[in-house]
Amino acid sequence: MICFNNVSFRYARGEESLKNINLTINKGDVVLVCGSSGCGKSTLVRCVNGLIPHFYEGELTGSITVGEMNVSQTTLRKISGYVGTVFQNPRSQFFNVDTTSELAFGCENFGLDPHEIEQRINRTVNRLDLTALMDRSIFKLSGGEKQKIACASIAVEPVDVIILDEPSANLDFKGICELQKMIEAWKEDGKTILIAEHRISYLFPFINRALLMKNGEIKKEYSVEEIKALTEKELHELGLRAESMENPSETRIKGIMDMSDTDKMVLFNMKYAYRGESAVFDIPKMEIPVGEIIGIVGTNGIGKSTFLRCLCGMERRCKAKLKVRDEEWNNRKRRQKIYMVMQDVNHQLFTDSVLEEVLISQDSEDREEALDILKLLDLTEYADRHPLALSGGQKQRVAVASAIASGREIILFDEPTSGLDYYHMLQVSELLKALKEKGKTVIIVTHDVELIKNACTCVIHFGNK
């Protein structure tokens, strides 16, 4: 079905990312390709959907066949009628603005008869229970809902092979459960499925085999039994996430301490509603312990990110007050005292070098201190590099460096570990602890169970009244 014969690939800019891949995947197989970031798993699946070599330029040797087609000699359009792909970033994979058209998009491009497309859409929507998401604007959906639509739009297409490129990166527990249903349905239909992931346990019920990649090579092949048998420690050594399917809202953290003695800040009158809609949340009073690492959990779309934005004073329409020690902070004051590391760190990188980035975050530029911060975060060797050129984990560290440099006492994080592998997640959790050491109060919105277990000293559960 899918056959790699001695395939190597080197991106036009950059080093070799696939080395001598030999691989055969049979029809109806569900194969997991796992490994830490940068191991080449995404590159491997791009060879199957034809984005390599037709979209990403580079040097390809060896031959890849999918079905009867030789990938490098077949047009992308032709391959796309046979292979469907769900990508990692739910923000960027939609061509349409409304959900219904998005479901039809692929079939329309292949020139399928509209009646048939209609039937396919009806079947998919009813089977996957998506009625509530139809005829909506893509821009009004949460990340999890977007990913559901992305999966459904592939399910509508008459493809035989389905590729998932880190589909769970932006999903919460509920989203992952939905994703499981989707994969189960595809498996029932006998589709061949290839999944690149570093969160693996949610896939155990479906896969036939797992490939472990490292530095562009297939290091090892596991059967389901073998990979299930790996201990947490072994998985971590491979850079993989070990969390079992667990709802973060039910996560218990070890060694809960007695909070009655710690200093607390008090948040009053925290409520917010989008224009013309009912309140997202309405919290008359809330106590937050000072100097701890506080995790805020709750399902996607419940308003956690909005909560953070209100907390740091960025939403003018939220009139909350935060009482710290004996001072009352209004929005303006909070903007000066609280720093937020946003989910998309790209929005927070402004300058042309890492050092410069730290310097503009300081109240008054202090080179010595800036260099110390870089050293603390293990960024010294990147001081002159452009922040945009760094990897995801490194960018996250630059964002943290800026947060420290700002000298503010409360630091907020919005999903700091989404899409990070075990090693990088651990790094972030160490950073959070370092912030606590410095006496900062850290508040994180997250659905990453492993991060909560590793770093948080206190968990606040966000839910409907």
Binding site: F94, A104, N122, N346, I360
Partner: protein, 239 residues
């Protein structure tokens, strides 16, 4: 409840009619072709976008537009005497606003109510090449994205306290533009990859699930637009 796709779902007007209306409106409302002779048509064209807003149940926006038109109409009457410098500046501002607002409302209406797929097909029927229609449909989708990204960047700047530019005006521009372009270019690249992996290509036949047909309102608008141009043309013969 069983879901059933209704292929006849569409907004009041066909994409082609919307474009004709936009064209007519830009000639007669913004371009003021025909002057006094087109007075009646001018006001009809000004109020059609408001009507469309109401049809889409956007009461607030529609109400605001009416208020602005009425307000500026009386203001213009009030300003019909010898003007001081300040008053003439004010008058011109009013003038520009009343000229541009109808078209802006119309353009916004079109972007909001036209499905990308509908648009591609309607344009294809009019023999507009893919080379124009694909970029235009990307603009539809990307306009909100650019604004969304730009807001997020603005927020980040506010939080860092660099919204006014740390030292120089050039920095304010640099800080705003660089992340915006970086992030849009990444999203654009991923969008292309996703669209192409779903079979989007240039010059290939594609189908459309939406039934595109001209309805009653379409013909009303088309006739109106034609009358506008004919009236304008006839007037030209006599003067």
């Amino acid at each position: 409840m069983e879901y059933k796709l209704d292929r006849n779902t569409h907004s009041l007007l066909d994409p082609r009619t919307k474009l004709l209306l936009l064209f007519t409106s830009s000639v007669f409302v913004v371009g003021s072709a025909g002057e006094q002779r087109m007075r009646v048509f001018y006001w009809i064209l000004v109020f059609i976008p408001v009507f469309l807003l109401f049809m889409e149940k956007e009461w607030k926006a529609g109400g605001a537009a009416v208020t602005i038109y009425v307000g500026s109409y009386f203001a213009q009457i009030a300003l019909q005497h010898e003007l001081t410098a300040l008053e003439s500046v004010l008058a011109l501002m009013l003038y520009i606003i009343t000229k541009i607002i109808p078209t802006v409302i119309l353009a916004r209406y079109i972007v909001r109510t036209t499905k990308v797929s509908e648009f591609l097909t309607a344009m294809h029927k009019m023999k507009v090449p893919d080379k124009i229609t694909i970029p235009v449909s990307v603009i539809f989708r990307f306009f909100p994205t650019v604004i969304e990204e730009s807001r997020a960047i603005g927020d980040a700047m506010r939080m860092k306290g660099i919204e006014m530019g740390a030292k120089k005006a050039t920095e304010a521009v640099e800080y705003r533009m660089v992340p915006l372009i970086a992030s849009c270019s990444i999203i654009g690249e991923e969008l292309s990859a996703a669209a192409m992996s779903r079979g989007l290509d240039v010059g290939k036949k594609r189908t459309c699930i939406w039934n595109i047909k001209m309805g009653f309102f379409d013909w009303v608008i088309i006739v109106l637009c034609l009358v506008c141009f004919i009236w304008w043309g006839i007037g030209g013969l006599f003067i």
